[in-house]
Amino acid sequence: MSEFLKEVSLTNGKKIGLKYLGREDFESSLEFFRRQPDSDRVYLRRDVTDRSVIEKRIEEIENGLSTVIVAVDEGRIVGDALLYVAQRGWFRKTGEIRFVVDVDYRGLGLGTLLAREIFMVAIKKGLRKLEATCMETQTGVVMVLEPLGFEKEGVLKNFVVDLHGREHDLILLGMHLG
């Protein structure tokens, strides 16, 4: 793994490194997502245990569409935060964020640390708004984002399907950056 962007402390005092995800992290990223419990992965937007999905994520980074910051502890990825911005069209000033925190590192402030770091990237990119979406089951996402200033903008009932094909409500969250 390459050099860390910075080192941060979790609420239990443990120090971990943050870095930008790159192609060299392909296997570590895949291993991170595959390590997460099925009960969590089932609610993620894409099947990130699939190599082709990880490849697409890396390609989006290389094409300048997204930025991913990962948290690394003892050589293993333990958190992943993504900022996606369309290059043209209506949403070129609105970034979409997504993040996943390792099941063993939850409740330690890592989600908040990753979200803050992604905010800084968004501000540097000159974005005017951030959005996040999650299923109603992903309560942790709302718990991290609301204290940071995100507001609920709507709920689309039975609008998305999980990896098993079950329908869920989609919660829309938004936050203005200026």
Partner: protein, 199 residues
Amino acid sequence: MVSESSRTKYLKDGTAVIVREKTLDDLDASMQFYASMPEQERELMRIDVTDRSVVEGRLMEIEKGNFFRLVAEVEGKFISEAILEDLRYGWMRRTGEIRILILPEFRDTDLARIITREIFLNAARRGLNNLIARVLDGETWMYDTLKKLHFKHEATQKRHAVDLHDNQHDVHLMTFSLSGMWQDIENAILESIASPREY
């Protein structure tokens, strides 16, 4: 890719309209169509439709297969365009996004209904359950038309989009449940079987 053949539909006033899939050969007709749209509406479109290379780039997306592009023409001139984007994978894999454009002189006809029905049929063939439309706060005609077509206004995302001049706009999210529509049709059929009318 789901293919559609050309077919002739008739507006209530008897005007014959050819409805067909857009092809890679339609660049010139598309440019003419966009030029005929009101300037105020063009400025709210997602891309700069006065830029030929941008329009050509969008046309090339037909080959990706997740776009269904429909045009309606009268005497060789486009009067409407509709797009269904099959969002395809992940948690939105049963959702499609639609967008409809109609020349002002054909908005008081039943063209929107005809075009939308074609979109619904294509969406059903693709196995989609939901449709979503995103409408900017200035797109009054689009909003009103989708409401008439039974789209539901779900949410408004404040200052969520920027137009071609970087002005911020609210985005109205509107949805239509295809699975709900098929269920309504099935219920109506079952009801008619259960209590047949006497003629």
